[in-house]
């Protein structure tokens, strides 16, 4: 809960900072603040306290995801200095919107009431709509914002109808109460309850961009400013998945058979489609967008195999995914800055232009592809182990096929970097970004060396 207070407070501070011309120290302040929030949350791990008449519950699930969200945000802030500096007039606006998004994310991880879930999603989404459009003179950015906005609100409609129907059947918005009602009255639940559950699933599937509700994602990801894309594909994704997992494990875990078929279809599509399409992309940003959609498939696979016991695996997967994603975006940003483009040809010969960047993004892509000993492998491994445990061998094989496809397009970038002639002169990277990239790469290895700590959180 402290984390939530601090993040909201920071968001307000960021707004006020405009008045005092405190931009210089703002990002420093934000990073410190988030670090403090993390520091305050870690000691509380292992406890489970509910606040505000049971509106939010900070248990290990919530706190772990909050910590993950905030950690990635810190890294992101470090990475995205350019994003803030390129439009000083809106420096504080952007910072505060990002922080509100984080607050929304924390709420989505810690909600114990559908109202909080809904508001968390909306805070997150509304801030993001504008952030996606924050490159105001770029048509692509405008379109991304608008598309994201239309699709987002459309999805909200479904989510709300679902919540309403569930409320009608269970007479409560409280997650625990709903779960209890579902168990006790399972026989007498009206049909519209199940419709409601499915609608909630549709609504959340939009938010986690699972196929076939993903069609906004690639456009939005490639249209938004690259830094924002990085944020969307990490922090936001983590938050959305946390919400999804929580709703369907805690709330509707007991009636898994009624929705697992639908989720299974969604999952199969999510595994297959984006990975296929990503292979056809010539733009790295867009490729990463599709790949981030594809990763949802693995998470869904893990979730589907053990709806009530998959949090740790998913959490680890997301941690690995986020760090790798941030790394690849950090490199992408540097490349984009120099070449003003994110096509795959801009990566040609990166190894010769700046070995550090090339190696870092290689490690990140390998991690995303699930090559050991990187963290991404253990993530996928956790998924497979859960799926095989439940006898979903054929789905696992599908996952493997798709992860091979994933490897295919990740390697296109790697090959371009190591094989092709350089597409330009050497790239110089500022010291702080260098340090960040080294930290991130080290992080990817560290995650793979000591995953136990993360896994024991649940």
């Amino acid at each position: 809960m402290n984390a939530l207070y601090i993040v909201c407070g920071l968001g307000l501070t960021a707004l006020v900072a405009e008045l005092f011309n405190a931009r210089k120290i703002l990002s420093f302040l934000v990073i410190i603040g988030l670090a403090v929030a993390i520091g305050l949350t870690i000691p509380e791990l292992g406890t489970s306290v509910s606040y505000f008449t049971n509106m939010v519950v900070f248990d290990n699930f919530a706190m772990a995801f909050s910590i993950l969200i905030m950690t990635v945000t810190i890294l992101w802030f470090w990475m995205a200095q350019d994003y803030f500096n390129q439009d000083l007039a809106h420096y504080t606006d952007r910072a505060s919107l990002i922080l509100f998004t984080v607050a929304g994310g924390i709420l989505m991880a810690s909600f114990n009431n559908m109202a909080i879930l809904f508001l968390g999603i909306e805070i997150l989404s509304l801030s993001l709509y504008t952030l996606a459009g924050s490159k105001r003179d770029s048509l692509a950015s405008n379109e991304a914002a608008f598309k994201y906005f239309l699709m987002g609100s459309f999805a909200t409609g479904f989510l709300l109808l679902g919540i309403a129907l569930v409320y009608g059947a269970t007479a409560s918005f409280n997650v625990q109460t709903i779960a209890a009602t579902v168990v006790i009255n399972s026989a007498t639940l009206p049909a519209f309850f199940y419709v409601g559950v499915l609608l909630i699933m549709v609504g959340l599937a939009f938010k986690i961009s699972a196929v076939p509700f993903h069609f906004w994602a690639p456009d939005v990801y490639s249209g938004s400013p690259t830094s924002v894309t990085a944020f969307m594909s990490t922090v936001v994704k983590v938050a959305a998945i946390a919400a999804f997992v929580k709703v369907f494990s805690v709330c509707f875990g007991h009636i898994a058979p009624s929705w697992s078929l639908v989720l299974k279809i969604i999952m199969i599509l999510t595994l297959a489609v984006p990975n296929l399409i990503a292979a056809a992309q010539d733009n790295v940003k867009r490729m990463l967008a599709y790949s981030s959609v594809g990763h949802v498939g693995y998470i869904l696979l893990a979730f589907l195999s053990q709806p009530e016991n998959s949090a740790s695996g998913i959490f680890y997967y997301l941690s690995a995914y986020s760090v790798a994603s941030i790394t690849s975006f950090a490199v992408l940003l540097q490349v984009e800055k120099l070449n003003s483009g994110t096509d795959i040809v801009q990566f040609n010969g990166l190894f010769k232009r700046n070995p550090l960047l090339a190696v870092a993004i290689t490690v990140a892509l390998l991690s995303l592809a699930g090559i050991p000993p990187l963290a991404g492998f253990f993530g996928k491994y956790m998924v497979f182990i859960q799926a095989i445990d439940k006898g979903m061998i054929s789905l696992t094989i599908l996952a493997i096929v798709t992860s091979l496809m994933g490897a295919y397009y990740y390697f296109r970038v790697i090959i371009a970097m190591f094989l092709q002639e350089p597409a330009g002169g050497a790239i110089t990277v500022s010291t702080s970004q260098k340090i960040l990239i080294v930290v991130l790469v080290a992080g990817m290895f560290a995650l793979s060396m000591v995953p136990d700590y993360l896994l024991e959180l649940f």
């Binding site: 405008n142 379109e143 239309l150 109808l161 919540i163 409560s172 456009d219």
Partner: protein, 101 residues
Amino acid sequence: MKIPVEYYLWLSLALFCIGVLGVLFRRNAIIVFMCIELMLNAVNVLLVAFSTYLNDAAGQVFVFFIMAVAAAEVAVGLAILVKMHDNTKTVDIDILNRLKW
């Protein structure tokens, strides 16, 4: 003086589906946006009906949050729309397909 709650269910589903239809059917972004508002309103009707039926105020309280969110969405959405119109001189959503793969 009693109306079965199902009637409200039907009504709100009808409105919701009309909203969905509008979102899919129209190209004018503003109308699409309005249809989304219609969807939210359908949900509101349903929530109030349930709330009255269950004699539980929570449903109506939830409606307020939806309203707040709807208002916020409108502010943001129209800002984006106006910005987009500045750049493209149109609100036809089909031009959004420029970014297709």
